[in-house]
Symmetry: C2
Subunit: 342 residues, 2 copies
Amino acid sequence: MSEKRTEISALGEFGLIDHLNEKIVIRHSSTLKGIGDDAAVIDSGEHVKVVTTDLLLEGVHFDLSYAPLTHVGFKAVAVNVSDVAAMNAIPKQITVSIALSNRFSVEAVDALYAGINAAAEHYSVDVIGGDTTASRSGLVISVTAIGEAKKEQIVYRSGAKVNDIICVTGDLGGALVGLQVLEREKQVFLSNPDMKPELEKYQIVTARQLRPEARMDIIHELRELEVIPTSMMDISDGLASELFHICKASNVGVTIYEDKLPIDKQTFDTAVELGLDPITCVLNGGEDYELLFTIDQKDFHKLEKHPDIHFIGHVSKEEDGKYLVTKSGTAAQLKAQGWKHF
Amino acid sequence: MSEKRTEISALGEFGLIDHLNEKIVIRHSSTLKGIGDDAAVIDSGEHVKVVTTDLLLEGVHFDLSYAPLTHVGFKAVAVNVSDVAAMNAIPKQITVSIALSNRFSVEAVDALYAGINAAAEHYSVDVIGGDTTASRSGLVISVTAIGEAKKEQIVYRSGAKVNDIICVTGDLGGALVGLQVLEREKQVFLSNPDMKPELEKYQIVTARQLRPEARMDIIHELRELEVIPTSMMDISDGLASELFHICKASNVGVTIYEDKLPIDKQTFDTAVELGLDPITCVLNGGEDYELLFTIDQKDFHKLEKHPDIHFIGHVSKEEDGKYLVTKSGTAAQLKAQGWKHF
């Protein structure tokens, strides 16, 4: 065949997604928000529904040589709940589809579903449907989550305004560092199966990778404190990458401060041990599933004392660019790397 | 490890699904119907939302050696629209997730999306989200469809009543016969690549397999005629298997008549040519995506003259069993085989 062949790598993951999205046509006025945020938003009378979906493949998104199936199930739900949280909505229902080969036993499937059901209970969501089918190769999990909020509560990526304060929850970089530890121990084990993986001193970071938490606690607290962020995302691809998304959607710039970035001690120490720059892990490590949001300055006093919300910088004009102010006081241009699967 | 290992094949596909569903807990009153019908139903004010999802894997659900990617994309949407139709609802939004390896070019992905977008236009649904990711092996497509209806319009599998008339749309067995033709021509091609597949005389049946239509036309017509079926399903696993589902959900029996079963001439002739019993194809052939529904006798006159709705039998008491009356007048017990992927 003489047909043109363009490699996907020529566009990259985000390039491919943009390329495909260009052709999408929206026909229904009830589709308030289609592609382009953490979740889609559908009008539904007094409330709106938010819808988000994730497709997880063995060997790409998880490695069963170190990820217990129960954790894989929990995480598959949590990452979707996190996207609902990022819209400032409350998750209500999920569908779960799985494809698996006969390599998996009923007991293995039960372990997977134990995690799915534990997450459903933890986040109070109903498993309302799904599809169970055969796979010729690895395990495939597809979860769709549906959440609910009042229309005026929904927070998009596009609402950040100049002088807003940039907030992140929890600490960052742990999931990436945890992944590096797990990969290292896997290689050690593969080269010498008698070696037992030493994971005890890495419990925090490996848990961040294997069993992340969606920050629904923060969403409920923001409601109690009557704070509606001006923009919000969850941090799945890395802080820098997510800041770029908010800047693009909101037509703003950002300045963040290295000494304000939250990093856990075990994450820091392990990053150093692995020869990684801790700040790079914080900026570009994915899968932390913490929340990144911006608030109006008038709301600052309501969150000021919150032990798990960190104020890392402020929103600036678009033409002022995107900067990281280092501990030495130098302003360095932020770079978004994100995660590349292709 | 001395852990117990139960093979999935010991439970079978439906057994595994039942086993997993036993542990599902429903927490929200807005979840009107969870697992167990063509789609889930969520309360949403005046209207309800129906939600359905399908996971399709290359090598299991489609074979790219004869299925053009455009058709694969169209079909992935159509099968979900068909599930929404089977609830007597109107599809409004879909999410589409794909996983693909670098074996696929941008042009190939474009062909897939051309089919997805053509189906979105054809069925008037908005593509509102999704996930695009890498795969280590074949193409994976996960579609979730969301539809809408008034609560009183929703038709479950569970509403069939004794003496209701059993209806099917279109004709049956074509998709299975089409699959057999495509598989035969593939084997011919594999054993001699110089042979060109002879598919012209099989256009109807191969189209039934490669590019099925969801019967939204019937759903709209039923509304115009003010007929609300008492129960409804789409025929994805085969007529006999779907009748078993309705009997189980409605606590009824059925009697259907061989001479009333709709079969297209090309399907009949090709089945005979392939050495298959045409009636077996009609009863157990999957993927036709026609509608199976029951109506109250009072509604019969409204549909009597419809050229594409066939009246194949009636609902009986549960204790009367499930029977097929053959052309010779013998009543034979119906067997549900369905499709087995495991």
